[in-house]
Subunit: 415 residues, 2 copies
């Protein structure tokens, strides 16, 4: 079926695995990094990690990652990012940075991604020894936003030009082009989601004033004062904001839960697929949609399937999940089964999102999984017969869900 390798989990002989089958890991998951999320506020740790010779920096320009070839990210060193970040950006503690907040100055955006504590990635370090902080070790990984913006435009452009001179480029790795090897796709996904969230939230949704990125890129606070426009060096009071003094979810990154489901017929012999108008000819996929406030996953699956296709769903079982950083989704993949009889009737008249929805025999889906999958931006694969069903590639959880049903997951009557 082509495409890069998918994440592979270790052998597993647990009772859960024996009963429910092996866990499925999807593209964009399987990160080799330990996030050490509890150290993001520890500037002693961040300073040591940022300046260590083994540390690797992923650069992103307008959300496109620096790459060395079609399937690998390029990681650069401390010296490469210093013109933008300064030598020691975590020198001051967060409280001080908040006190000194000046909304006229563009802050460099630096994400701490984690440490490669299992040595799963090619070493980027020198011979100077591994990084170690307390009981934690492994090469640290950061992402730095080099998108030219505000008072950092010149510094960003100088870095971009220097990298171009080295033959490195920023490449689009959006859903139309998922070529990165899977551990690097997971790192890119984490960085992309967080940089995008920061870019969408320069202002406080609660009070309308500018926010400041803290916790190594994973929190945005609404500082109580601002030095902007001050002539005497004294900060201006910004008035009260409900996000201060309490924990507000809007200070933290947003992830949008999304349900995506392979719906089998009541007899387990057919699969419900739909297509959108703008898709290539003969292309279908599983139905999907955003979960709403106050809904369970199971309810969201039943609502979305009924709204989009008219089909009524009974049992819903979660199969696996996929981070989907375009911009911030968590794809929750389910296998579900339609209610018999009238429950399977297709009606597109509720929500006019789909151009078509149809029941496909499992045999036809199986054939398409073998000979009809490709990236949506690519032509049909070799062996494809014009007019036959086309499906998303295996990097998409939709593909894995269809595969699960075709292989008899949850359906005792295997084809």
């Amino acid at each position: 079926m082509g495409g890069p390798d998918l994440p592979v989990l270790p052998e597993d002989d647990s009772m859960l695995s024996a009963r429910f089958g092996r866990e499925v890991a999807n593209y964009f998951s399987g990160s080799p990094l330990n996030r050490l999320s509890f150290l993001r506020t520890d500037h002693d740790f961040l300073r040591a990690a940022f300046s260590h010779p083994s540390t690797a920096f992923l650069l992103m320009n307008s959300l496109n990652p620096l790459t060395k070839d079609d399937s690998h990210l390029a990681f650069v060193s401390h010296a490469d990012v210093e013109p933008l970040t300064g030598a020691d950006p975590f020198a001051k503690p967060e409280e001080e940075l908040i006190k000194e907040f000046n909304s006229d100055k563009t802050q460099p955006l630096i994400l701490f991604l984690g440490v490669d504590d299992k040595n799963l990635l090619p070493s980027n370090g020198t011979e100077s020894g591994a990084f170690k902080f307390k009981e934690y070790n492994g090469s640290p990984y950061f992402a730095v936003d080099v998108t030219p913006r505000g008072t950092l435009t010149e510094a960003s452009n100088s870095i971009i030009d220097a990298l171009k001179a080295k033959g490195l480029t920023f490449q689009d790795h959006s859903p139309r082009r998922m070529n990165l090897v899977s551990p690097e796709a997971a790192i890119y996904g984490q960085a992309r989601a967080l940089l995008d969230w920061n870019a969408r939230n320069p202002f406080c949704a609660q009070c309308g004033q500018r926010t400041l990125s803290v916790n190594a890129g994973t929190k945005r606070v609404c500082p109580p004062t601002d030095l902007s426009g001050s002539s005497d060096g004294k900060p201006r009071d910004r008035g009260p904001c409900a996000t201060r003094g309490t924990i507000s979810n809007i200070s933290f990154p947003r992830t949008d839960p999304t349900v995506i489901m392979a719906v089998a017929s009541a007899d387990g012999k057919r699969l419900l697929l739909g297509r959108q108008r703008r898709w290539p000819a003969y292309w279908f996929s599983t139905l999907a949609g955003f979960l709403e406030p106050g809904e369970s996953i199971e309810e969201a699956v039943r609502r979305e399937v009924w709204e989009e296709s008219g089909v009524r769903v009974g049992r819903v079982v979660v199969h696996s999940s996929q981070p989907w950083p375009f911009p911030a989704s968590l794809m929750i993949g389910a296998v579900a089964q339609a209610l018999p009889g009238e429950g399977e009737a297709i009606h597109l008249g509720h929500d006019p999102e789909l151009e078509s929805a149809k029941w496909f025999p499992l045999e036809e889906v199986k054939e398409a999984l073998l000979h009809g999958t490709s990236g949506m931006g690519e032509g049909a694969p070799e062996g494809y017969k014009e007019g036959a069903l086309r499906l998303p590639p295996q990097q998409a959880i939709a593909n894995r869900l269809m595969y699960a049903v075709v292989e008899g997951w949850g359906l005792p009557s295997k084809i």
Copy 2:
């Protein structure tokens, strides 16, 4: 074990159910309403629904719902809300409301919740006949925010006073007090989550200007102009904003995916539970935490368990889910199994969130599920022996996950 009934799903003899067991529905799910989400932009529909005699209105004051007794919401009629909403608040189409946007005027917040198309709720209508719009019918449900604020303070207070005179009260139904019968808890959860989201987002996080609620309370747009302060009746241009002209997730309600997991030991005979310092004595629960950008559910479970307890988790299986409107979580409930040997070693030194984490024999957990559960705000239940394990009530998904493991869910060696 006391407490209100939990949502019950219809009998289910599907293949999925035969293989994986019946679906579990948790408290706050099981809504009796069909959201008809695709009609939220249709003002012909909204006008007809808003003014129909069978329509029921849930009022909320500072996120507390109007109730008629401890376990039931009170629904009021069109005449009761009219002083705040006006008789026909959906008379103008959205485009016109956006053009007329004036940030000096407080807009009433009116949510369309759905229609009771299966007649699951006590009829609130008169004898005047059922509501019908195109192929959809059933009593419509709306929620209206009567929290006194801005230019609506007086109208809100007049409504609140009139209801108090009728003996109705606004009651707190936060996690310390989950008394509502389950279909009404689901309606309250939906309304609470959406009103809270609107209250946290009066400003555009992208450009810092005031937003306007549209789509019957489920979207906030950043209007291009503002009549505020205009003396000649011409609106002021607000400059560009990236949320306009494209679809931005920040215009839509936010839901925070959260993982919560019952972690069994490798031999399936013990369960990992933790406790926070501020909890009542002897009280433990399952571990939980927010999913992060770029993570799968399974990765988030493994990360959170390791960060909080040091335990290393292998296979993760999603069990069920629970909307948790405090303020906006989706609880994704999993059963997981620890890796054997060193994988089970407890170490609290990473993230100091827990006061304690321990392995409990399933027998002890079973005993506590029978005699040690209560709301956290309540005293220990009857039959509880001082010093024994205390656990959350069955309205909490934590309780259902522990129950599942104790009952042998996923673990062939039943106790």
